[in-house]
């Protein structure tokens, strides 16, 4: 059977950062309306909403139905999709498969989280609910898992934290050119080393901030899509994969199977090789994760990923741009929004609308990798210009 071709026809995104007087719903509505406008007012058949923890952040259940009501949607397929920090990728997968099946022809995917009204300690406690009971009882959190990973990587390959600092500097450079990023300022290596140690060997400047925000993409079957955009961004490959939930069950802490397998399956579906891919958005919750994910995705050999930012390859004007949006590090990480915001960035870049941070050459293919927990569950997507 011939598979339907599915494209992004429009995108929307709030600025990421601190939205003091705005609720999750305000942010989801803003991103949704922008995506609908960008899709020439298209009326989608379905709505997929990625929100991790509105129950804990704002005492709200059923955010997808609330949003559908606010958007004036009736008689549509509406659902919430949750995969912790990879909820956005999972929601795009759910929407894509619904269209591919022929049950619906179009879908609005909207992700968001409202986090900054809670303290850092409250945020840490909310996010820590996603690890196993045993892991939580030790006091470990996702940021401290990144520290365990960083020390292991550094000792195995004989490096210090300087390559991590280069990832932070690079992603802040990108964020400084993204008017929707949480942090829009460059940092120096000195700023990195002057930042406080959070979990040795990692510092404040290794980590994503806590942010509010939302992002949206409109997906449509390609024949219909051409009525709503001149530049449909095709999703030609999409897949998910899991790794162990309990992190210490992994045979190799530096090979995230969820990332590796979802990449392999998505590339196979698209019929593409890694050499076709000239742009990647990935899940740099901490700097070390950008390095390890690039290796697990197979773009660098084990032990070689740290060179990418040091040598400038992954800068927006380098040979293999990574996280041109600023990544989680500088753009911010309003959890449910993150995977959708990756698709937003790639659509801008492939359409040549990324402004100052526009990559030098529009690639044949781009990828995003949206990861739940500490590599528990990843969704990876291959995008291609569809015009």
């Amino acid at each position: 059977m011939k598979r339907r071709r599915i494209a992004i026809v429009g995108v929307g995104m709030t600025r990421f950062g601190k939205h003091r007087d705005r609720s999750l719903m305000d942010l989801l509505v803003e991103a949704s309306m922008e995506a609908i406008r960008d899709s020439r007012g298209a009326e989608p058949d379905s709505l997929f909403v990625s929100v991790m923890a509105s129950e804990l952040y704002e005492n709200i259940t059923g955010p997808a139905n609330t949003l559908a009501g606010l958007l004036g949607f009736r008689d549509k397929v509406v659902m919430r999709v949750e995969n912790t920090s990879g909820s956005g990728g999972a929601a795009i997968f759910a929407a894509w498969t619904a269209i591919a099946s022929g049950v619906v022809d179009s879908a609005l995917v909207v992700g968001g989280e409202k986090m900054t009204h809670k303290s850092t300690a409250e945020n840490a406690a909310i996010i820590a609910t996603l690890v196993s009971d045993y892991e939580r009882s030790t006091g470990i959190t996702l940021p401290s898992y990144a520290a365990l990973m960083a020390r292991y990587y550094m000792s195995k390959y004989g490096i210090d934290t300087e390559p991590l600092a280069h990832v932070a500097v690079k992603n802040h450079l990108h964020g400084s050119m993204n008017p929707k990023a949480h942090f829009q300022k460059r940092i120096t290596l000195e700023d990195y080393y002057n930042s406080r140690v959070v979990a040795e060997p990692l510092r404040v400047m290794d980590y994503t901030p806590i942010s509010d925000g939302a992002a949206a993409v409109m997906l449509m079957e390609l024949d219909k899509a051409l009525s709503y955009t001149d530049k449909p961004v095709l999703i030609t490959g999409i897949s998910g994969a899991t790794d162990t939930h309990v992190v210490h069950e992994r045979s190799d802490l530096l090979d995230i199977m969820a990332v590796r397998r979802s990449t392999e399956k998505a590339l196979a579906m698209a019929g593409r090789n890694r050499t076709d891919v000239g742009l990647v958005e990935l899940h740099d919750m901490a700097t070390i994760l950008e390095i390890v994910e690039l290796e697990s995705m197979g773009f660098y050999k084990p032990g070689e990923g740290w060179r990418a930012a040091v040598e400038g390859e992954t800068r927006y004007d380098g040979s293999f741009p990574v996280n041109t949006s600023g990544g989680l590090k500088s753009k911010g990480h309003p959890i449910g929004a993150t995977g959708v915001a990756q698709a937003y960035e790639i659509a801008l870049q492939l359409r040549g609308l990324a402004g100052e941070r526009q990559v030098r050459e529009i690639p044949d293919a781009a990828m995003s990798m949206s990861m739940g927990g500490f590599g528990n569950n990843a969704y990876t997507i291959v995008y291609e210009p569809g015009w």
């Binding site: 840490a124 892991e135 009882s137 006091g139 020390r151 000792s155």
Partner: protein, 102 residues
């Protein structure tokens, strides 16, 4: 009270787990219990200066490799860990502490 952790070992493939699970990656649900007697080595550790609520900084955690299993555990405050340190695992109130073997 401290005791040695009890591993859950798959009867079909021999893989060991701590904490327990419902089903092995090999698909088997037949397990036996085995006390972890072996000494392990610290493969990575961190000292957390901003721990979650309910924990005092500095909070030290590590992953140790015991051959049959790797376990994430806490370190006691007075212990200055190093990579490769030999440790034993002792469970207290459901949490494994990794203690240096003197």
């Amino acid at each position: 009270m401290e005791r040695k952790p009890v591993l859950q070992v798959c009867r079909a493939c021999g893989k060991a787990y701590y904490p327990r699970k419902a089903r092995c990656y090999c698909g088997s649900t037949e397990f036996e219990e085995r006390v972890l007697e072996a000494k392990g080595r610290i493969v990575t550790f961190t000292i957390i200066h901003v721990p979650p609520a309910g924990f005092q900084p500095p909070l030290k955690v590590a992953i140790a490799d015991f051959g049959v299993v790797k376990i994430l555990g806490r370190l006691e405050e007075g212990y200055e860990p190093g990579l490769g340190d030999q440790v034993e695992a002792l469970e207290r109130d459901g949490v494994v502490f990794l203690k240096p073997v003197s």
